[in-house]
């Protein structure tokens, strides 16, 4: 990101991105603070100091000896928070990328059928565990299959018109959706319950191994997507225009959609389907920081991370049992977006 401010003699015209960068730094600081607060909250009462002692202990800066505290803070809460950050970033970035690629601010990462495909993979693995051992792997694979299926279906002579792509995504989403229904029908009651619980989404199964699998991959992919921000800007003006400005639109689209789908499928395979984040966060970020994807995507990503940490913390502390996090994201999210829409309506509608 260039921090260039260029004053022009005749009009005070400025190409300054300083405020935007400052905003993103502020967001990052908020994220850190949110995470540090979130880790002290939980059903099991542990004092704030003890919580930080556990963290310092695990970073080999200090020591503490209470193994129960260690289990709770480091083995249970920490992976959840880290995963929430990763998934929030993944979904928000993917949402922003999809919105830019499809030139439609109402698109969300599940539009090409990845959630239906992942649900199918998970259900298949639940009903036939002897053939598919890992629910997560199966969910991920079929999530990707769904999107690539949509892409192949929509591709004609090397070009993929976006409207056709969306339609193909809808078709494949339906196909996999019906397949899930079939699987639900033939499964045992146990299996059925498991499928439903899986689809509702939640972080309650988060472990460090999930963190190791997801966080590095998501981080790399989202950074690559941030770097493609400028190209996405141009692409979002129109495909023909982008071509005349020298962008290989087909290749750019493939890379963008693949990466965005990849991180979405990863997230879905680990924590189930969490709606709203991928739609709302890029929206909200665009209303605040503008449509330049070089700043929009990182902002949306951090906002997504903060939002999901907050939602997950509420989900696990509001009552003595877990509330599915998707419910919290919708309850918190919709009014927030409504508020933003009302106050910044002119920028939103241009």
């Amino acid at each position: 990101m260039n921090n260039i401010s260029f004053e022009h003699k005749s009009g005070g015209l400025v190409f300054s991105n300083r405020t935007k960068v400052t905003f993103i730094i502020a967001l990052f600081i908020s994220l850190t603070i949110t995470a540090l607060i979130a880790i002290t909250r939980g059903a099991y009462d542990i004092s704030v100091i003890a919580v930080y002692e556990v963290i310092l202990d695990n970073l080999n800066i200090a020591t503490q000896t209470n193994s129960l505290f260690n289990t709770i803070v480091w083995e249970i809460r920490m992976p959840r928070i880290l995963l929430a950050i990763a998934v929030g970033m993944a979904l928000a970035t993917a949402g922003g990328v999809y919105q830019g690629t499809f030139r439609n601010p109402l698109v969300e990462p599940f539009i090409l059928g990845v959630s239906a495909g992942a649900a199918f993979g998970a259900a298949l693995s639940i009903v036939y565990p002897q053939y598919l051992f890992s629910i997560q792997l199966s969910a991920f694979m079929f999530g990707m299959v769904a999107v690539f299926g949509a892409y192949s279906l929509a591709s004609v002579r090397g070009q993929t018109p976006l409207v056709t792509l969306i339609l193909a995504g809808v078709i494949l989403g339906s196909l996999f959706g019906s397949a899930v229904s079939i699987l639900k029908y033939i499964s045992t009651e146990t299996g059925l319950r498991e499928i439903v619980f899986w689809m509702m989404g939640g972080f309650y199964y988060a472990t460090w191994s999930d963190v190791y699998q997801i966080v590095p991959v998501v981080t790399i992919c989202t950074i690559v997507l941030f770097i493609m921000g400028w190209k996405l800007n141009v692409l979002s003006m129109g495909e023909e225009e982008a071509k005349t400005l020298g962008i290989n639109t087909e290749r750019t689209k493939i890379i963008l959609i693949t990466l965005a789908t990849f991180v979405t499928a990863l997230s879905v395979s680990v924590v189930g389907i969490i709606a709203w984040v991928g739609l709302m966060m890029p929206h909200a970020a665009r209303l605040v920081i503008g449509p330049d994807h070089r700043f929009l995507l990182p902002s949306a990503a951090i906002m997504g991370a903060i939002f999901l940490i907050i939602c997950d913390t509420i989900a696990r502390t509001l009552t003595t049992a877990e509330i599915p996090v998707g419910i919290i994201t919708s309850i918190l999210g919709a009014p927030y977006l409504m508020y933003l829409l009302r106050t910044k309506k002119n920028i939103f509608f241009g």
Partner: protein, 425 residues
């Protein structure tokens, strides 16, 4: 070329879907809720009432029985062809009465057939495979496997097949006969077909579930089949077990009641550990726990919720009971498997006070409910039931209720996975 490529993809996709459907229909060993294809038989449509081919009989061949709806139903004095629609309760009672041969068809939560059911332990990847049915009815009355399976009351009964069986009487154990839409339709349609229908209610139909309704179910069946004496015997036997438990656990002060958690672990828990679903104070299991065993449900909320490892640590139950509705987990898994490391500090696990309940399939209170309660009681209050040897208890229970040979007893124990779940040796 490109055009062909996307058509290829479509073809591949269609093949994938088709093969899935193929697997589904061919595989025997998922508990399918399949409804058998109806045979082509002229059958009365629901709008016309019709009686099956029955020679006109004199009035004395009928009697009236009041079912648990309070409805007086006219049934043959000596029903010979019975269709049992329940999750096993009706056929179990009939086995206990010794009249299981009268069953000509059944409806249930799943078809009864032999399958490879495997149990898997997250310790050193241990596993075992058991080939048999999910439900002990298949052992008690093996012929059940060949009888037509008619479906479930909430999703749909194959009425044409039912009519073809020409039953004398249909006994249905309803979940919620006056509120559940599916069941209401089933009942209405069966009655339109003109067959005598007796409804008995599951305990959770009632606002406050109570064992007395289970006894009533047995009574009603006793009346239908003129086995009132056997019915009483059975009721006395069951109640005796419950009274026994109550006696031993009465007068326990509130402060000494352990907090018991019904912890349902799914298969995923083995990889992820620590989280599972928990039953609230409004569930039958909880009510029986508090009324009969005189303990406390550690979770004071309602319904069936998911709890994370931290929440369970915070709850810190004294005893954990593992129902099998989501998966088969012997307690040893909780104590030793890596997957459950996070909850090792829970009091119940630290003190090794976890136990599994027998596998009952389609979670439902049947005649084995007293056995389940005893196993639970021993788990909750081991000191007070020290003298109960579960091996003996289980053997005698099966024999007393169902009057079966030793050989069958072994099979029953296997079907209920008693050894795998470490309930008996």
């Amino acid at each position: 070329m490109r055009m062909k490529k996307s058509k290829m993809t479509l073809l591949v996709g269609a093949l994938v879907v088709a093969s899935i459907i193929g697997i589904v229909s061919m595989s025997g060993c998922i508990d399918e809720k399949t409804v058998e294809t109806p045979k082509q038989v002229p059958v009365p449509t629901p709008t016309e009432t019709s009686k099956p081919e029955v020679t006109p009989v004199k009035e004395e061949a009928y009697k009236t029985v009041t079912d648990m709806r309070g409805k007086a139903v006219r049934i043959p004095k000596d029903p010979k062809r019975v269709v049992a629609i329940s999750e096993g309760m009706v056929d179990q009672i009939m086995v206990a009465f010794g009249i299981e041969d009268k069953i000509v068809g059944y409806g249930s939560c799943g078809k009864i057939r032999d399958c490879d059911t495997s149990g898997y332990l997250a310790i050193n990847d241990t596993s075992d495979t058991y080939n048999g049915s999910w439900y002990i009815g298949s052992i008690l009355y093996p012929k059940m496997r060949e009888l037509p399976y008619l479906g479930t009351p909430t999703k749909g009964i194959n009425y044409e097949q039912l009519a073809e069986l020409n039953p004398d009487i249909i006994i249905m154990r309803a979940r919620d006969y006056d509120k559940n839409e599916g069941e209401k339709k089933t009942i209405a349609t069966i009655e339109k077909l003109g067959f005598p229908l007796i409804i008995i209610n599951r305990p959770n139909h009632y606002d406050k579930p109570d064992v007395s309704t289970i006894y009533k179910e047995i009574e009603v069946l006793g009346e239908i089949f003129d086995k009132q004496e056997k019915a009483e015997e059975l009721i006395d036997f069951l109640d005796g077990k419950l009274t026994f438990i109550k006696e031993r656990t009465k007068n326990i002060p509130e402060s000494e009641k352990p907090g018991v958690l019904y912890f349902g672990l799914s298969r995923s828990a083995r990889k992820k550990g620590g989280a599972g679903n928990v039953r609230g104070i409004d569930s039958i299991q909880s009510i029986f726990l508090e009324d009969i065993i005189n303990a406390k449900n550690a979770y004071r909320g309602k319904g069936r919720v998911i709890m994370s490892a931290e929440q369970i640590l915070a709850l810190n139950p004294d005893v954990i009971v593992l129902p099998t509705s989501s998966g088969f987990h012997p307690p040893r898994e909780l104590y030793e498997a890596e997957a459950f490391e996070n909850i090792r500090e829970v009091k119940a696990i630290k003190e090794k006070r976890a136990c599994s309940l027998p596998a009952v399939g389609c979670r439902s209170e049947r005649l084995d409910f007293a056995m389940t309660l005893m196993i639970e009681a021993k788990c909750v209050y081991p000191e007070r039931f020290k003298d109960i040897d579960l091996n003996e208890f289980v053997d005698n229970y099966y024999k007393d209720v169902f009057d079966v040979s030793d050989d069958k007893v072994e099979k029953l124990k296997l079907t209920q996975r008693l050894r795998w779940l470490e309930i008996i040796e």
